[in-house]
Symmetry: C2
Subunit: 253 residues, 2 copies
């Protein structure tokens, strides 16, 4: 039983207006990788923000009074803080060198997911406006062009409470469920499972991250092939919302 993580090398630096679906199909083909049925295509969110032209030009930002205050408390650049406020629905916690936010999408993460890496100096990439919609658009284009059934995941690298180090997580998905609710499934001893909800989209994003790296490798697209639950979780209207724990059930808020 084998699953393959296939990193697509030689994807060019993405710029506004680029057709990511086309680029992925063409570069993959050139690299000898044909898109197959049930492929799960994981794309780094930076590539999406660049293609969609939502990159933030920090020079153009005027920090508000709030931003200047948070900047003083955190030691972060006040223009960056203003951008973070702009992307946030709520600021959860601040401290020396960190700002943990709830983004407008509902994700809890540092800096509202704004990333200053892998982008020109003075610029930053936010989480795409609607990562599920971005994933859907790319999935549909890839499916139309290749006549294959695929899923697309938009991934980000995020820290988490209690554990050190960031990991790949899913911030958008199309073509399959993000959470596998295994309620009713039986264990090795034919008894109902205890832990039933598995965040498969996050596990797939973490797996892709093993290849993507975070630095100058330049592998923003990873194809995951051979996942045996693809058919079971196939759903053309599923999105990433089930990954977000509702506020009222989150005991750490």
């Amino acid at each position: 039983m084998c699953v393959n993580l296939i990193g697509i090398r030689k994807i060019p630096l993405i710029k506004e207006g680029d057709d990511l679906a086309n680029i992925i199909i063409n570069i993959a083909n050139k690299e000898g990788v044909e898109i197959c049925n049930e492929d799960i295509i994981v794309i780094a969110e930076t590539a999406i923000a660049k293609a969609e032209g939502t990159v933030i030009d920090l020079k153009l930002i005027k920090p508000s009074v709030d931003a200047i205050e948070i900047s003083e408390k955190t030691g972060k650049n006040s223009k960056l803080v203003e951008a973070i406020i702009g992307e946030s629905a709520d600021i959860i916690k601040i401290g020396p060198d960190f700002i943990i936010c709830e983004t407008k999408h509902g994700f809890i993460c540092a800096n509202a997911g704004i990333d200053e890496s892998n982008i020109e100096d003075g610029f930053a990439t936010p989480i795409p406006i609607n990562p599920d919609k971005s994933a859907e658009k790319i999935r549909k284009e890839i499916e139309t062009q290749t006549k294959k059934e695929v899923a697309v995941i938009i991934s980000d690298t995020q820290g988490r409470p209690f554990r050190e180090g960031a990991v790949g997580v899913a911030i958008g998905i199309s073509g399959m469920e993000s959470v596998w609710d295994q309620k009713g499934k039986l264990d090795l001893y034919k008894r109902p499972l205890q832990t039933t909800k598995i965040a498969v989209a996050d596990e797939l994003a973490s797996a892709a991250s093993i290849i993507m790296g975070q630095a100058d490798e330049g592998i923003p697209v990873v194809i995951i092939r051979g996942v045996n639950y693809f058919k079971l979780l196939r759903n053309k209207i599923a999105n990433s919302k089930p990954l977000i724990r509702p506020k009222e059930y989150d005991v750490f808020r």
Copy 2:
């Protein structure tokens, strides 16, 4: 660029005293998989607890007054609660149907990591006593027998704050670093990276979980092959401690 996740099927139900290293090498061989240099072998913690004989017989447990009180608040079986207390250094939060603990190892997780799935009725598997040591023992045996350099990760499936669904995480490791500190590495634009610490052991455990499943698939061992940072992170005395965020830096405690 390709990484393979190879699930080892037909591993028998593990019992106390079983030599896991031997079982893994033999069953893998029978299934046509030879251990290679730089393989990362991920083993589900339930298999370790069974082999090491630390399975908990809930019938033999006498719940304390504290356990009965927590049992009433959470709706959980008082014997199970007593077992959870026994595995915990601290109870972090309780509520209807949940107990979040700090285990004696320092992991923050539900039920102190005690699992009632994939074990006979009336029994439960705790996190192994010293998962790093368990990993080391198995790694050394596999390396001696096969003459290959490998890493071993002990994995668990755990929930997390803010996000729904459990994911695979590493609770023990031997043969490589658990966290990759990329400080000094440069991004696509030759600037120093922002997010520098990647929890590679957790990403590898999540990747393995894609194949392991949680139910009756019976695939407690996954070999991850082709990880390009193996050599860079090779370390015979590394352990899982860098994955645990020190209390004083954890703003959600």
